[in-house]
Amino acid sequence: MTAADDHNDDIALAGEYALHLMDADARRAFEARLDAEPALRALVVEWNEQLAPLADNFTPQTPPPAVKARINAVLFPATPSRTWSLWRVLAGSGLAAVLAVGVLVMLPQDPAPTPFTPSLTAEIAAEDASLIVLASFAPETGVLRIDRQAGAANDGRVLELWLIAEGADAPVSLGVLPDETQTDIALPETLAQAISGGTLAISDEPLGGSPTGVPTGDVLALGAVVSL
């Protein structure tokens, strides 16, 4: 067999490979050669490029939306946020129990009449904007005003608000959000001082709020506290 014959053999083999005509065994053997022979790889690429005009015969058709959702579910299974995982670890450390200073009492008030001059704010939002809560804090009065602009608790569940103070090891519950979209929460002084530079978060919890003092459900939304 001459070198030219060998080359023609490779041309035919690379063409068969590009057309996907080989059976599994032949394919494996050819792929082992491909790993070792750049020239053969180049020949396969060349074949695929030269045959590509035949792909005009594949008429585009929009796939049903469910396919994309399935692909995302396979590749990116819903994982709790990183912050949430950190909370889990910290909860196990016992620090959380020390720092969770007890469930605060919500003080539903009429937000309108009292003068409210916030200097800190946080937009606590879900990534997909399915839940957006605007929080404003007025240090003089210690009032944290909550304005839920989008989203609500799931049926039979509640939304619980948490403060992760700057440098803190664990979140502290600021209480369960009421059904009303607007409410004021009076923060005790220790928390009022900790809110600046912190992060507010909302988790999905059973009725009555987290039974453990740390978030037990998914963290739905997060937002950093910034100066106004």
Binding site: E16, H20, R41, N48, Q61
Partner: protein, 179 residues
């Protein structure tokens, strides 16, 4: 209008694990790739599965794209077509039902807006036309319908080994003409 450069950039970004780019790549190319799966598998549910497998593979293999030398659509179509053909072969279990073998004449080219340069297309057509027509049809059938050697032999009513020899010689001639 998504350009070749757009698709190329999306693939490169997917190779870096960029999910937004992956979503954009899906939106830009899934209709074409679904067309590939539908044509080869001729079954909607199987075509959807093949498309899903293709995009999972694209996510996993995009990081090798930059060095493999392919133009972006050729790479995507080649990957998808091979997966769809694997599914087709698995379904048929290697047995060819003559009734299932489509008449190549009935499934001839249905041109769409050419994504590939017209000159390349006419060059391929010109070179295929230099082959005896049944051999050119065999090459087209292998590419467009994903026919195996068994199916091609059945369709053209020749022994399997004859079909192999035919096709290999045709490929050598074709390459000579294209190069």
């Amino acid at each position: 209008m998504t350009t070749r450069e757009d698709v190329e950039n999306m693939i490169l970004r997917v190779g870096l694990g960029d999910r937004a780019a992956f979503s954009a790549l899906y939106d830009a190319t899934s209709a074409k790739l679904f067309g590939v799966c539908l044509r080869i598998l001729n079954d909607r549910a199987e075509a959807e599965d093949a498309l899903q497998d293709a995009f999972v593979r694209i996510w996993q293999k995009a990081d090798s794209y930059a060095v493999n030398g392919y133009s972006p659509m050729t790479w995507l179509i080649t990957l998808t077509r091979n997966l769809a053909i694997d599914k087709l072969r698995a379904r048929k279990g290697g047995n060819v039902d003559i009734d299932e073998v489509h008449d190549l004449k009935d499934t001839g080219p249905t041109p769409e807006a050419a994504a590939v340069a017209a000159s390349e297309k006419s060059r391929l057509d010109g070179c295929l036309n230099e082959l005896p027509s049944d051999r050119a049809d065999a090459v087209r059938g292998a590419y467009i319908e994903g026919y195996s050697y068994d199916e091609l032999a059945a369709r053209f009513d020749v022994p399997l080994n004859t079909m192999r020899t035919w096709l290999r010689r045709s490929l050598i001639k074709l390459k000579d003409c294209l190069s």
